[in-house]
Every structure is written in C-alpha cells, then in structure tokens.
Amino acid sequence: MNDNTIRLKPGYLDSRCDARRAQVRAFLREELEAGRCEPQCDCWVKGFDRDFSRRAGARGLLGITWPREYGGQEASPLERFVVIEELLAAGAPVGAHWVAERQMGPSLLRFGTPQQKAKMLPGIARGELVFAAGYSEPDVGSDLASVRTRAERVEGGWKLTGTKIWTTQGHHADFMFVLCRTGSAEGDKHAGLSILIVELPAAGVDIRPILLLTGEHHFNEVNFDSVFVPDAMVLGQAGQGWHIISSELVLERSGPERFMSTFPLLVELVRKAQADPGNQRALVAVGELVARFRALRAMSIAVGTALEGGESPNVQAALVKDLGTRFESEVAECARLLYPVQPSLHSADRYTNFVAQSVMHAPSFTLRGGANEVLRGIVARGLGTR
C-alpha cells in the first residue's frame, strides 16, 4: 500500500536442499563421533581449523555453487544456505575457509580473470586456502571509501603501501584482498579504488597481532611497505574496487551467520530448561527466542531466494543483519538471567563456557560486516529518507 514499505516474499527450500542437509549431517556426525569437532559459539570466527576445512572441502561442502571447472558443483545458492546453516548449528570450526568461501570466491568468480579463477577457486573449494580481507584502516572504519592505502603504477604491476587493521585471520592467510587507492581521491571518492590480491607471504608485508579482549588472536594489523603486486593480481579492472566491495557486502550481510553465532547456546539453554520442568519463565523465554529465530531464518531464506532470482535485496539484507545480530546478543542475555552461572572461558561445563563465549564475543556481532548504525542508514535510504 506504500511504495516505501520494505517487504520480503517468503522463500523456499526444495528437495535438493534436503539431500544437501543429509550430506552435511552425515559429515558432522562422523566429525563429532571421531572427536574432531568441538561445538562452540561464534564458530565462524573462533573456530579455526585448517584440517577441518580440508575435510569439509574433500566432502564437497565448499564452493558448491561454483562452476565445475573451478571445483564447484553448480548447486543452487539455497543449497549452499543449507550447508552453512548446518555447519553453524553444529558450532563447527569453519573459520579457516569462511571468508574465502563466502565472499572472495564469489568475487573472483564474478570479476576475476580465467587465470585468477584457476589459481585460487579450486583451492578454496578444497578448503585449503585461507583468505583475509584487508579493507579497514586505522583511521577508516565505517567510511571505507576514505582508505589511504595507495598503489603506485610500476612496470608490470603496482607498488602497494599502507596499513590495514582488524584483519581477521591475516596471520594465517594465503591471500589477502586489499582495498586501495589507485586513482585520484578528488571528486567522487568511490572512484579510483581497486582490489589488489596479495599472495602471502610477500616481501614488505608485516603482520602483527591485535589480541581480542578475550586474549584470542584473530585480528591483525598488516603493514604494506612498497609491496609489488603484478597486474595479473588486480581483481577486475583498476578503479572497480568499490563496486566489487559493495557486491560482496550484500552476500556478507544476510547469511545465517548473522543470527546463528549463539545458536549453540540456545540449544544448551533448552537443555537447561528440559531439566527444569514447570519453569514458566523458561517456557516464555525459550518461545520468544525461538519465534525470533524462526522469523529471522524465514527472512534470510527469503533474501537467499531473491538473490537466486537475480534480485539485489541489499536493503533487506541490511535489515536481516540489524535484527539478527541483536538477536544473537539477546540469546546470551536471556540465558544468563534464566540460568545464572559464573561464566568462564575455561569452564569444563559446556553451558557455562557458551555463556562466556557469547557474552565476550557479543560486541563484535553488531560491528562486523558493517556497524548496525551504518546498516540502518542503508535502510533509511531504502525508505527514501536520505
């Protein structure tokens, strides 16, 4: 009734998705039974295990939507949705392949040269290659188009200089996508940006850890001092960087990792309630969380269906992330008030441990992939107010 109402048509999972689900569950069952996979919250950041990623790749769970010539299976995006929601529900250690499989692979597929695709895509699909995103900088967080890392034209390529920060898994990375300025910043600041792919290790690249408040090492500061990047490693055209990044972010925002980071805690909360029959507060709390979860999952499937249909629902994707990431924190708050514990990352008790993981990681939920305030700006623009 109003052009500015933001709606989503419910999406559907088909029988191919059922087959995928069975395939992932069989894999996860084996992993669990062999003791190779310990569930955890925020597993797509916390759980870094190259061997797990290789096994997932060997079982055909990665890059499944890609063409066969690059290691894919030409599966539908919703089949991939099922694969990743299953891995997240299990709290599996998917961090080693996550970023590469989610965003770098699709960007390579869309913008890369045949040589770049052949060089990197099969390795991602095998779960062997770790990628990092060198986008943020010390003075540039939400306002990415203001990056100051520069690449100067030299014979046969570019000379890259600058500093990137919050580079997750940079210390493990085999390749890094680096957003940098290759053209003038005068006029339209979105023009003149490029993505250079740096193969690591490389001369002139210095990677230093930035520990999280938990003491974990995921973040890094990465310094580039006149690093040579050959022309063959420019993604797409020089000057196309902003366009590439914007298309990546839509994929990054609406997936199940935006509302499932604390799902393993929700499962343990239900287990607590199972042992506490007749607790009316627990019934209501679990029901409220499950209702929110079900609505978010329906929204995420709807966005996935729209993407599959060739639409670009970036406003809806921003909504899913805003609602979903706040839900992730809500699970933690709800659990700790309903079944209080002394949270500890070192507890042997799974519930206690999950509460600690969820509380300590919660600040990042509403920041990574675009701060929620920035996302609300995107929604406001979609409403026609900016």
């Binding site: 009734m1 109003n2 500015n4 109402t5 933001i6 709606r7 989503l8 048509k9 419910p10 999406g11 559907y12 999972l13 088909d14 029988s15 689900r21 929601e85 529900a89 799902f263 929700l266 499962v267 343990e268 239900v270 287990r271 309630a273 199972q274 009316q280 627990a282 019934l283 209501v284 709390a285 679990v286 029901g287 409220e288 499950v290 209702a291 929110r292 979860f293 079900r294 609505a295 978010l296 999952r297 329906a298 929204m299 499937i301 709807a302 809806q316 909504l319 805003d322 609602l323 305030e373 996302l375 609300r376 700006g377 929604v379 406001a380 979609g382 409403l383 026609g384 107010t385 900016r386």
Partner: protein, 351 residues
C-alpha cells in the same frame, strides 16, 4: 503472492478507501460498527456464502486490506473464523454477521433441551454487534460448535482498546441442543484459537503497514530546527528499526498463512503471533515517538492503528501465551531435537 491475490487486495483497499475515513471510524465507535464499510465488503463479494468459498490466502489479503484501512468491521472474526466454523457445522448463517468465541476451559453440561457452557467472564470479540456467536468448546475428547443469537447472551459491553464492541459473558451460556454440533478436532477450540491468532497477526501487519506509512510521511513533512525530522540520523534510525520490525512480522505471518493448511501449523502460527506482537509494541511506540504530541490526540488518525495494535496483540493469546506454548513444545522435544525440528517443519519448505 499471486497476481489474483494482489488484485483482490487492491480492489478491497480501493473500495474501502472510498468509504472509510478516520472521522467516520471514530464516530462509528459509539455504535460499534462502520455499517457503510460492511455493506461495501458485502458488495465486493467477500462476505457470507462467498467468504465460505475463499481460501485462507484469499481471506488473508482481505483481512490485511481491512486492517490497513482501519475499518471498524468484524471481517476477520465473522468471515475467516466464524464462517469457517459454521461451514464445518453445516449451519445456514449466510446472511448473518458472525463472531466466534473459544470457551476451551469452560465446564459443559448436556441437558435434554439445552447445553450449558459455564463461560462466565469470557470475552466475546464483537459480541455486542454480531448477529450470532459461534462458541467453540469441548467435552472430554469431543469438540463442539454451538451457535446462539448474540442478543440472547447476557453480556457486559466492554469495548476494546480498538473501540471494537466486545462483550464479557455474564453467567453461563445456554444453547439449544439443536444448535450444538459436534465437529472434528480440526475445528475444535485449539484450532479456532490458532486461526484466531493467525487472523490477529495478519491484522497487526496491516495496521503496522499503515503506522509505518503515516510515520514516514510525517517525518518527511514535519520541520523542526529548519530541517525535516527525517533528516535527523536518530529519526532515520528509528524509521529503520520500525521497517525492520514490520518486515520481520510480515514474513513470519505470510509464512504462517502458507503453513495454515499443513498438518502442523502450530509452530508457524505461534511464531507469527509472537513476532507480530513483539513488532506491534515497537512499531506503535516508535510511531508515537516520531509523531510527538499530535499522535497522542484523537483528532490525528495515528491512534486508529496504534489502538488496534494494542487491542489485537492481547486477543487469541498474547505474546507470552504463544511463546510459552512454543517454548513448551521445544523443551518437550528436547535440546537435541531443536535444530532438526526447526529445519523439518513444513514452514519455509516447499517443492
């Protein structure tokens, strides 16, 4: 949503747009019914025998349009709920404006001429304006529908926050034995409660759509500090939050409409009523906050939809009711069944 459904919704919206206006709706509250709006719906062929032939998906688009128009008519109660019950009980009530009431926990006594339903204190939505009330109740394992003329039921007139002419039953309701019909569990009290919850969730989405539209327009038009309200980031953030709540509720409700005919509609419907209720709270609050004092007046129309949200979220089980039911089912199935159940239910699943 199919093209035919969209056309149906548009035609109802257009017809009501010609008939319904805020001043008229407020004036109609004294009598409890916007009669011209009801006649308009009759003319459109979405009432009575016609409604009995409509699918839930068709009823849903009409319910949405009626709610968005803010029309003071019992469309959902009469046509999507009571009409559906009357067709199951094979009652010939085509000409009547109906309503339903669920007396799930009432004691029931079968006498030779009368069935006595101990429904003292039961709220009958639209009980003071409908021609006939269809009571849904059970005795042991058996489910029944009993029909009684609203005029013959002793009720205390208790208008809801929406201004709808609800009544509270005084004493027991006695229904002539010939007007009581056994129905299958699929039309029993639990099923009526679910369908009622789905209707209210649909109505809430319709009303929230209108609150969202009014608020967006107001934020653009209203100037403070020489700028439109919508130029302020904090207001943009409120507007985005409102849009998100509405979108989430709409997806949950549309999913539930599709699940309504499946074997186990309960989780989808519980989700829809909880999520719509959660959203209603936020959307009404943000709508009022952005409107400022004018929104708090009777003269400005915002209240037509926010009052409906506050009324409807309580009816056919509020968020706590359905959350407890959904939570109880999840807990009973157990932690290890949570994920398999969430992914197995027919809700967003289709071939």
């Amino acid at each position: 949503m199919s093209h035919t459904l969209i056309m149906l919704g548009d035609s109802v919206a257009r017809a009501l747009n010609d008939t319904v206006n805020p001043r008229g709706t407020i004036a109609a509250e004294a009598g409890g019914l916007d009669e011209p709006a009801w006649r308009q719906l009759e003319r459109l062929g979405v009432v009575g025998a016609d409604a009995a032939q409509m699918s839930m998906a068709e009823l849903a688009v009409v319910i949405d349009a009626v709610a968005a128009a803010g029309a003071l008519v019992p469309y959902a109660d009469s046509e999507a709920l009571a009409r559906w019950l009357s067709s199951a009980a094979d009652l010939d009530l085509d000409a009547a404006m109906l309503t339903a009431a669920v007396a799930d926990n009432a004691q029931v006594q079968f006498g030779p001429r009368q069935v006595r339903v101990a429904a003292d204190g039961l709220c009958i939505p639209w009980g003071c304006r409908a021609n006939a009330v269809l009571f849904s109740f059970r005795a042991g394992e058996r489910c029944y529908v009993g029909v009684k003329s609203a005029r013959e039921i002793e009720q205390r007139r208790t208008p809801s926050l929406s201004g709808e002419p609800h009544g509270i039953v005084i004493g027991a309701v006695e229904i002539a034995t010939g007007d009581v019909h056994e129905v299958s569990a699929a039309r029993g009290p639990e099923a009526v409660l679910q369908r009622g919850a789905l209707c209210r969730a649909l109505q809430m989405v319709g009303a929230m759509t209108r609150v969202n539209a009014l608020t967006l327009q107001y934020a653009r038009d209203r100037k403070q500090f020489k700028r439109s309200l919508s130029d302020f980031q904090v207001i943009q953030s409120h507007l985005a939050a409102m849009a998100g709540e509405l979108c989430a509720a709409a997806v949950a409700v549309e999913t539930a409409v599709e699940a309504a005919t499946s074997d186990d509609a309960f989780p989808a419907i519980a989700t829809a009523k909880v999520r719509a209720g959660q959203a209603a709270r936020q959307v009404a609050a943000l709508g009022h906050q952005i409107h400022g004092a004018i929104g708090f007046t009777q003269e400005y129309p915002l209240n037509l939809w926010t009052r409906r949200l506050w009324g409807w979220r309580e009816e056919y089980g509020n968020e706590a009711h359905w959350a407890a039911a959904l939570g109880a089912r999840c807990i009973e199935q157990g932690a290890d069944a949570l994920w398999p159940r969430l992914t197995a239910e027919g809700v967003s699943h289709y071939d």
